[in-house]
Symmetry: C2
Subunit: 94 residues, 2 copies
DNA sequence: TATATTTGGTTTATATTATAAACTAGTTTA
DNA sequence: TAAACTAGTTTATAATATAAACCAAATATA
């Protein structure tokens, strides 16, 4: 009847992060922060959770002397997102 | 960009409860428990939250000598559910 | 006819999660 | 050189979900 919703995705901020990353090749921390309107601290924590789960990959470098955190969805993340969307449909008719 | 998701609905069990109640005139506690596979304790707590928010109305009576808790979605609850579904679409393309 | 079990829940305690606040480390500007 | 800003991370706290324990009454069992 009701499918279990991946708890890693069933949260507003992480879902927004993944939603963004589904539609771009990669995205900077600051870009994600701006689009999601999240605080830096919250975003940092949630990005780390997605990284630990291997839903995204994170590369740190520098740009114009400033630290730069670049995020990219993984194949595993993409699959999880798609499954999540499919499972959601057991709760709401679309 | 990303709409705020009603935190009262953006949780697996409460969303399932509301999803059920969207499609029936009313439903018994035990029926909801069976369909959602929730524990009685968890269900009791979440039904109360939905009641406090006036998303559902709850009537207690007796049936075959046993307590009977009947739940029904309110107009406010129906509207909230519809808004939630609409807002979700800012996260996932359907 | 005790007593054990089941029904239909509620209450309370605990574990998990999200979030904000505080902090780090370095850069730019005045 | 000191203040303010960038780009984050870490830690503490608040909120939430969940399970475990409990309750009252009904029914089954010995």
């Amino acid at each position: 009847m009701f499918k279990n919703l991946d708890p890693l995705l069933h949260t507003q901020l992480r879902l927004a992060i993944m939603s963004l990353l589904m539609n771009v090749a990669e995205a900077e921390f600051t870009y994600i922060k701006e689009k999601t309107k999240a605080t830096a601290g919250n975003l940092s924590v949630q990005i780390d959770k997605l990284k630990v789960a291997e839903y995204i990959s994170v590369e740190k470098s520098f740009k114009n002397n400033y630290p730069l955190t670049m995020c990219k969805i993984t194949q595993k993340g993409r699959a999880a997102f798609e499954t999540y969307v499919k499972d959601l449909k057991s709760y709401i008719k679309l």
